[in-house]
Amino acid sequence: MLDVLSGFVDELRASGLPVSVTETIDAADALSVIPLDDVAAVRACLSTTLVKSADHEVAFGRVFDLFFSRRGLPGIPSAEILIETESPDVEEIFVPGRLSGNRRAIDPRELRERARRALASGDEELLTQTAQQAVELYGSVESARPVGVAYYLQKTLRALDVESILSQLLADARSGTEPGERIGGDAMHDNLVRSELMRHADALREEIRREIARLLVDERGAGAVARSMRRPLVEDLDFMHASADDLVAMRRAIYPLARILASRLAHRRRHRRRGPLDIRATIRRSLSSGGVPLEPRFRRPHPSRPEIFVLADVSGSVSAFARFTVHLVYAIAEQFSNVRCAVFIDGVDEVTGIFRRAASIEEAIAEVGAKADVVDAHGHSNYGSAFRLFAQRYGPSLTKKTNLIILGDARGNYHSGESEILQSLRRRAHRVFWLNPEPRSYWGTGDSIIGEYAPHCDGVFECRTLRQLKDFVDRLA
C-alpha cells in the first residue's frame, strides 16, 4: 500500500498540488485505521490528509479516480493492482475480469431509455450505470490512438445523443406528460426543470469522463493516463489559451480571489504604520496599571486610497485577458478611491459609466463589447494612435494620485509606437504599470514594441495567469 500511496502522491505533485512529507505520513497513518475496502472512506481519508485547499479538490478527484476507483471489484483495494499494471501477470488476471463481467450485449434503445430516466431523475446510481453502459457500447478504446479522454468523451456523447434526450424531456415537462408535481406557473416550472436537467447532464458527462478514464487506465496503466490528463490548476491557466470551460472556471475563481485580496489590502493599509497617539485611550488603559501609562494606544491611520485608471487593449488577441483584469479590478473597487476604465483598439473610449450603471460586472463587460467606440480606422490595435487620443482626452484628468495600468501585448501591428506620449503621461500620473499577457520570451519579437515602452513605465509585468494577476494587485495597494 505504501508504494501505491507514494505513486499517488507523486502524481498529485505532478499536477501541481503541494503535498509535504508529513502529510504523506499522515495519510499512511490514516489508511491504517480505516477499512480499505470502502472506497469512499479511502477517498475521504486521502483527501483530508493530502489536500488542504478547496481549489485543489477537482485535481485530487481526477487523480484519485485513476488510481483507486474500480467498478466490479468489491473488497479489493484496487490501487494495488492498478499501480502495477506494468507487470504482465497482474494484467492478465485483471483485464479479462472486466471484459467477461460486462460482456452482455447492450441494446442501444434500452440504453437510451435508461439515459432518459437517469437525466430526468438525476439519480446517482442510474447516472453511473448509464455512463458505464454508454462507454461500453460507444467508447471502445482504439489501441492505435494516443491516450486522450476528450476524444472518447465526445464520441460517446454524440452517439448517445444527450442533446435530443434533453430537449425531449424538456418538451415533456412543458406539456405536462412527465409525471411529477408542478411548482408554480409555467415559466417557473420550466426554468426549474431546465436547470435541473442541465445539472444532471453535467453529472452524466462527468461520469462518462470518469468511466473512460478508467477504461484507459486498464489499457495503458494509471501513470500514462494521468500524465495525459494532467491539467494546470485554475490559477495557473494561461489567459490567452484558455478553453471555454477554463474561462468559466477562471471567472468563478475571481470572486473568492477578490475577497481575499480586498481583505488583505484593507488589513495592510490599516497596519502599515501607527497613527498618532490616542491620549484618551492611553489614559483609560493606564487605569488598570494603577495610573501608570504602560501601554500607549494609537489612533488608526487613514492613509489615502490609491486611484486607478485602467487602459485596456480589447482587440481580439488579448480581450480575454483584459476582461479578467477589469473584472478583478472592479471586484475590489472599494479598495481604491476611484476606478476609471478606458478601452482601446485604435480608438479610445471611456467605459467607466457603463460599469457604474450595469447591474453586474458580466453585463457591463458585455455592454462594453457592444457599445464602446474603440475602432478608429482599421480595427487592429494601434498603440500610438490610442495613446495620442487618450492623452488628448483624459491626460488632464491624471493626477499625482493616479495609478495608470495599461493592459496589452504591445503588438502595434508595425504602427509607430509614439512612446514619448507615454513618457508625458507618466509625468502626470503617480505610477504607470504595464501588464503584458504574453510570455516574457516573446517580448520584443515581431511587432512587439514592449521594449520601446518599458523605460517609461514604473513596472512591466508578465501577467498570463490569475496567480500573476493576483500578485500584481497585491503589490499595487
Binding site: D26, I34, E181, G184, A187, E196, I260, S263
Partner: protein, 304 residues
C-alpha cells in the same frame, strides 16, 4: 496507555451526530473519525452558513463534552488565546509582602527571588480558552472559530498547541496537556492560512449539501413542513446555487426561508410566494434581479 476511543467506526460517528440532530455525510464522518484516531485538529472551510460551527457544537454534544469556544477577531493576541498573568492579584501580593516588611522584619537578600517564584505560579495564571482546553479535567471540545480573522503571527501561536498539545510559558516552563481534546478550527477563507497550520490539520471542505441531504435537514429542523414543500424548497435552492451569484443561499438561509413559508401559511411555492420572499435567500440586489430573471422569467431557448 492506549486512549479509549469514543467512536468505534465511521458509521458510529454518523449515528452519534444524527442522534443530536446533525445530519452528516460519509466524508464528514470519516474525517471526524480520523481526527480522533490520529489525534489531529480539523480545519473546516467552506462557504458561510454550511454548518461549520454547528459541526463543532454537535460534536461536543455527541461526545457529551463541554465546548470551549475561541472566537477569533483581528487583534486577538496571546493574552486572549493562551494565558495571561493576573497582575492585579500579583500587585496585591507584593503589596502585602511590603507591608509585612514595614512592620519591622529585616528585608532578606533572597526575599525578591522568593516573591518572584511566588507570583509567577499557577495561582496567578489566568487560563484562556486554548490553555483551558488542554488543562481541563472534564472532556472538552475546542472550537477555534473563524481562524482566518487573526493575524498570521497569532496563528503561529497556535502551532505549538495544535501539534504538541503543550504551551510554553516563559516564567513557568512547559505546560502539558491533561487530555488531547478534539479541536475544530473553522475558516471562511478570507485569507490563505499558513502552510504550517494546514499541514498540522486534517482538512474538511464543507460544501452545500446534496439536494437529498438538504431535504432531510429541512425536514428535521422544520418539522412542521410538508414533504412536498420541503421538496420544492430544495429544488429552488438547487437552481439558485447553480447560478453565478455573488452569494449563494446557505443552509441556514434555506431553513429561514422554509420557516418563513410556514409562518406565512404558504403550502405550495408559486411565482408570487417565491418572488416576495426571495430577499430571505439572497442579500444582494443584483443577485435577486438575476434570480428573478432565471427562475421566474419567461422560458427562453434552452441553453446548449
Amino acid at each position: 496507555m492506549t486512549p479509549a476511543y469514543r467512536f468505534s467506526d465511521i458509521k458510529s460517528v454518523r449515528d452519534a451526530l444524527a442522534a443530536v440532530g446533525y445530519l452528516c455525510d460519509d466524508a464528514i464522518a470519516t474525517v471526524l473519525y480520523l481526527a480522533e484516531r490520529l489525534q489531529k485538529p480539523i480545519l473546516v472551510e467552506g462557504p458561510a452558513g454550511t454548518g461549520k460551527t454547528e459541526l463543532a457544537k454537535s460534536l461536543a454534544l455527541a461526545l457529551s463534552s463541554r465546548l470551549i469556544r475561541l472566537q477569533c477577531y483581528e487583534g486577538l493576541d496571546e493574552s486572549k488565546v493562551l494565558y495571561e498573568w493576573n497582575y492585579r492579584k500579583q500587585l496585591l501580593r507584593i503589596q502585602v509582602e511590603r507591608n509585612e516588611e514595614d512592620a519591622g522584619r529585616e528585608a532578606h537578600h533572597d526575599e525578591w527571588r522568593r516573591i518572584e517564584g511566588d507570583i509567577f505560579s499557577e495561582e496567578f495564571l489566568l487560563t484562556r480558552p486554548v490553555l483551558e482546553a488542554i488543562r481541563a479535567d472534564d472532556p472538552v471540545v475546542l472550537l477555534i472559530d473563524e481562524i482566518d480573522r487573526v493575524e498570521i503571527e497569532t496563528e503561529a501561536l497556535l502551532l505549538e498547541v495544535l501539534s504538541e498539545y503543550q504551551v510554553s510559558i516563559a516564567e513557568l516552563g512547559t505546560v502539558r496537556a491533561r487530555q488531547i481534546p478534539p479541536v475544530v478550527l473553522t475558516s471562511n477563507g478570507t485569507r490563505e492560512l499558513s502552510e504550517a497550520l494546514k499541514r498540522r490539520c486534517l482538512y474538511l471542505y464543507l460544501d452545500y449539501p446534496s439536494q437529498e441531504r438538504e431535504r432531510e435537514i429541512v425536514i428535521s429542523k422544520v418539522p412542521e413542513i410538508s414533504e412536498r414543500l420541503a421538496d420544492e424548497v430544495v429544488r429552488v435552492i438547487g437552481l439558485l446555487r447553480s447560478l453565478d451569484l455573488q452569494k449563494h443561499p446557505s443552509i441556514s438561509e434555506t431553513l429561514d426561508w422554509a420557516r418563513t413559508l410556514i409562518v406565512l401559511g404558504i403550502e405550495h411555492l408559486d411565482e408570487a410566494a417565491t418572488s416576495s420572499t426571495m430577499n430571505i435567500l439572497l442579500k444582494y440586489r443584483e443577485d435577486i434581479d438575476r434570480a428573478q430573471r432565471e427562475l421566474l422569467g419567461h422560458a427562453s431557448k434552452p441553453r446548449a
